[in-house]
């Protein structure tokens, strides 16, 4: 009895939780580092219009993006305010699209190449001229699956 009592008094039964925050912060930092926000910085202003008949883009690796819009304030002095095409991280013209598509195509595994979708992120205020040029270029390059990026809205009654 005496022995037992003594033992209980001496040992500390609680587990130290002081290292738990470290573990949680480690997790937090891991996710913060790993999470990819956006691969490309936008150099053109893109405010996509609204539409109701939307399809989700499932596999990110099978999608390449073409941005069309007016250059942002930072680039306005050099590139003017005319709508421009942005491929990757630089301003381009429709002739550069085949090479851009090919660069993406080689990163896609065999067997998935016919499921590549080009997402057109086009500003609503842009006129169709430049969009048509891009469409023609895409068709000539054999990329016929495209997705006009849009925001969700309800179907009109």
């Amino acid at each position: 009895m005496i022995n037992f009592k003594k033992k209980q008094g001496n040992t500390n039964p609680t587990i130290s939780t002081a290292s738990l925050p470290d573990i949680v912060f480690m997790l937090l930092f891991f996710f913060m580092v790993v999470t990819k926000m956006r691969d490309t910085d936008l150099m053109v202003g893109v405010n996509t219009p609204q539409a109701s008949e939307l399809t989700k883009l499932e596999k990110k690796s099978l999608v390449n993006f073409i941005f069309i819009g007016r250059p942002t304030a930072k680039f306005r002095d050099v590139y003017g305010t005319k709508p421009r095409i942005q491929l990757g991280d630089k301003f381009s013209n429709p002739d550069d699209i085949p090479l851009f598509l090919e660069k993406h195509r080689v990163t896609v595994p065999e067997g998935f190449k016919d499921r590549i979708i080009t997402s057109l992120k086009v500003d609503g205020e842009v006129t169709m001229g430049i969009v048509s040029d891009v469409k023609t270029s895409l068709r000539k390059a054999g990329q016929i699956k495209i997705n006009y990026s849009a925001k969700k809205r309800d179907r009109t009654k």
Partner: protein
Amino acid sequence: MAKKSSRNRMSNEINAGSMADIAFLLLIFFLVTTVIAEDKGVLVKLPPWSDEPPQELTINTRNVYSVLVNAQNQLLVRNEPMEINKLKENTILFITNPQKRADLSEDPTKALVSLKNDRGTEYKTYLAVYNELKAAYNEIWEDEAARRFSRPYEELSKTQKDEISSAYPLVISEAEPTKFGEEN
């Protein structure tokens, strides 16, 4: 002496047990509030490019639903001006033709939607028009799914979907845009 003993009695460590709770709270807060930007859009299949001139097709004009969008973002549907909010309803009427009118499509399988725009048309308007045309077909398919299988279109099997889309095939033909109103 008295001072020293009192310092000894106090714990030098700050209780870090609640730190974990705070960190978890932060983690969960960010997990919940972070919205992973979803990419959604109107899926379109472009016609493949061919260098040969397109073959001449003789299509009965009653089967063609021509939609023109000009550089002023106005709509001309079958040679008559129209508001965009009437377009979907009108397209459904044209495709299904429930009263078998002589000026609307003979049969849904023969119906063809032709879309033409100017280079000066705003992209916003173009997409809205395309969206309405697609919405018309989606609505027809949903009605048909409810009628034939009494289930929403989304829940149908592949063969059932094919059955409906072959009865009401989505054909939107796009002509080369005219050069009007291009900005410089």
